[in-house]
């Protein structure tokens, strides 16, 4: 379908849905019919590429400055008295936010640089909190500092409409969650898996709001968290389940994960992409609950029996979880493909490659002579990597083409 036909169909639908009136529809169509949409498309693609490069460079710059400041503070910068250090950090945090707001929102002259400066402000806010903690010798592993950082920066995401700030907030919150759950008290991988599903659900809440662009980062982060938990369980032969004990936060995430699956089920009829999305959510939830259910069996096993890995029930569980992981990878890819979400395709491709490598190393590598194993591994990595990358690019190109067409 030509691009202009697609636009005509869409505009017709907008009129029928009452989003725009007939006059506005005519103005939109005449604007693009006059200029020629293919011209606009190619220009748009070029502009998008340039703008992505600018955005990436600016964000890398902001991260480097932020990390530099954090490490500078970390190395006990003795020459300057603490009140002055604090003033400098506090001042630079808000100066960075102000310039970011000026460039991105107020004047709109350099929105990408503005975006990076807002991110820098949030990194500096974290450095200020850590410096304050250092002045008062607040305990080194105090998770409260990460929570304070998250509380300070997360509203900025919405108030200044910043996607990089959202990603930073999610990273800080996840770090807090890991720190709060604490390894001594039984690090709770299941909690993180359900947390991933919760993030997926939070993504849905953004769908029909002016923050709809935040949906994909939330859901991508959610997919990575949940898939990471599944893969860790497979990789460690379900070892974390031996120390698993429930925590109040698990029940909270379980309820939110169930709500996510319900929200996903409601959208089931909206195309193949949504069907795959539901399949991913439902499989992930059932998988997580099954971990919960088999934990007592794993814990009741004698240590030598569990570690021998000859136990037939462990082998059976691992085979089932390999299949579940493969289903999750496949539905991530299909969901991304049919909905045109490139980050899902990237995540799905990554985990597919990881699983294939895992299967190779755990089932084939040891049965071949060492030198041959290494050569074959090298060939698989090179050729497989090239093939997967080629396939990934062709899928993304197709998805982008479909979006424009």
């Amino acid at each position: 379908m030509a691009a202009i036909d697609w636009l005509r169909n869409e505009v017709g639908q907008w009129v029928r849905d009452g989003i725009i009136n007939d006059n506005q529809a005519n103005s939109i169509l005449s604007r693009y019919e006059r200029r020629g949409l293919s011209d606009v498309e190619s220009k748009g693609v070029e502009e998008e590429k340039t703008s992505k490069v600018v955005s990436a460079i600016a964000i890398v710059g902001a991260i480097l400055i932020g990390l530099g400041v954090i490490l500078f503070v970390g190395s006990n910068w003795q020459a300057i008295p603490f009140p002055l250090k604090l003033l400098l950090l506090f001042g630079s945090t808000f100066a960075s936010y102000y310039l970011g707001w000026l460039f991105r929102i107020e004047r709109k002259t350099h929105p990408k640089v503005g975006q990076a400066l807002i991110l820098l402000g949030s990194l500096l806010a974290g450095a200020t909190i850590f410096l304050t903690a250092q002045i008062f010798n607040v305990e080194a592993n105090a998770d409260i500092l990460l929570l304070l950082w998250f509380i300070a920066i997360s509203p900025i995401t919405y108030l200044l409409e910043s996607k990089p700030n959202l990603v930073l907030s999610l990273l800080v919150f996840t770090a807090w969650l890991i720190s709060y759950n604490d390894i001594e008290h039984g690090i709770n991988l299941l909690g993180y898996g359900l947390y991933g599903l919760t993030l997926y659900g939070i993504g849905y809440l953004h769908e029909k709001t002016k923050y709809s662009s935040f949906k994909t980062p939330y859901q991508s982060f959610g997919i990575v968290s949940t898939m990471f938990v599944f893969y860790s369980m497979i990789l460690t032969h379900l070892h974390p389940l031996r120390y698993f004990k429930t925590f109040w936060i698990d029940y909270l995430f379980l309820i939110l994960a169930i709500l996510t699956v319900v929200a996903s089920a409601i959208q089931f009829g909206r195309g193949v992409g949504k069907k795959n999305e539901f399949a991913w959510n439902a499989t992930a939830l059932v998988g997580m609950i099954s971990f919960w259910l088999i934990a007592p069996t794993i814990q009741s096993m004698d240590s030598s029996v569990f570690h021998s890995q000859d136990t037939s029930s462990i082998k059976l569980f691992l085979v089932v979880y390999h299949i579940v992981f493969f289903v999750l990878t496949l539905t991530t890819l299909l969901s991304g493909y049919y909905q045109g979400i490139t980050s899902f395709i990237n995540i799905g491709t990554f985990f597919l490659f990881v699983q294939l490598l895992h299967l190779y190393f755990s089932h084939i590598f040891d049965f071949l002579p060492k030198s041959l194993s290494l050569i074959i591994t090298g060939i698989i990595l090179l050729v497989g990597g090239l093939y997967v990358e080629k396939k990934r690019r062709s899928i993304i190109r197709e998805v982008r083409g479909r979006k424009i067409g």
């Binding site: 190395s75 808000f94 707001w101 806010a125 304050t132």
Partner: protein, 175 residues
Amino acid sequence: MDKKFIIAMAIPAIVIIGFLSFKIFTVTTGQDILLEIPRPVDPTDLFRGNYVNLRYSISNLNLNNTQIDYNFSGDEIVYAVLSKKEKFWTIDALYHSRPQLSENQVCMRGEVTSVYKNQIHINWGVESFFSPKEQAQEVEKERWRSNVSSIVTVDKYCNSVLKALLVGNETVQMR
């Protein structure tokens, strides 16, 4: 200026200033106490550089020799009543809620990290002393002589802030 921007700036400002004020309140209104440190060591914090990790005499207690209101379990908040003995302040009793204090007593709030048989291990939140690498190593050397103690300020709400280390007779301060 945009109202949204003002709100966006107010939130991190309130968090940072609030955190700072909370600590300043303890330091300015609290009472200094001296705590014994049998074994300091010096690890590194990724974000905040070198610090001396402190283990106090009051970090591990024998519950047979300590008065408690009722049994403790891991992750619970604990309040300790301390009084000055010969040189150091030591614990008189442990409670689950903020206790009433007499004139010569102070209280500290901590978190139970583990309870095993009669032993209770408590984290008081004053276990890290940030210092330059060389200074941290100096303090670590002194640990073999059991010559290290710390000056902690505690306020009336049982909050505490580690102010300085005492290595021999020398005060080591961060600021």
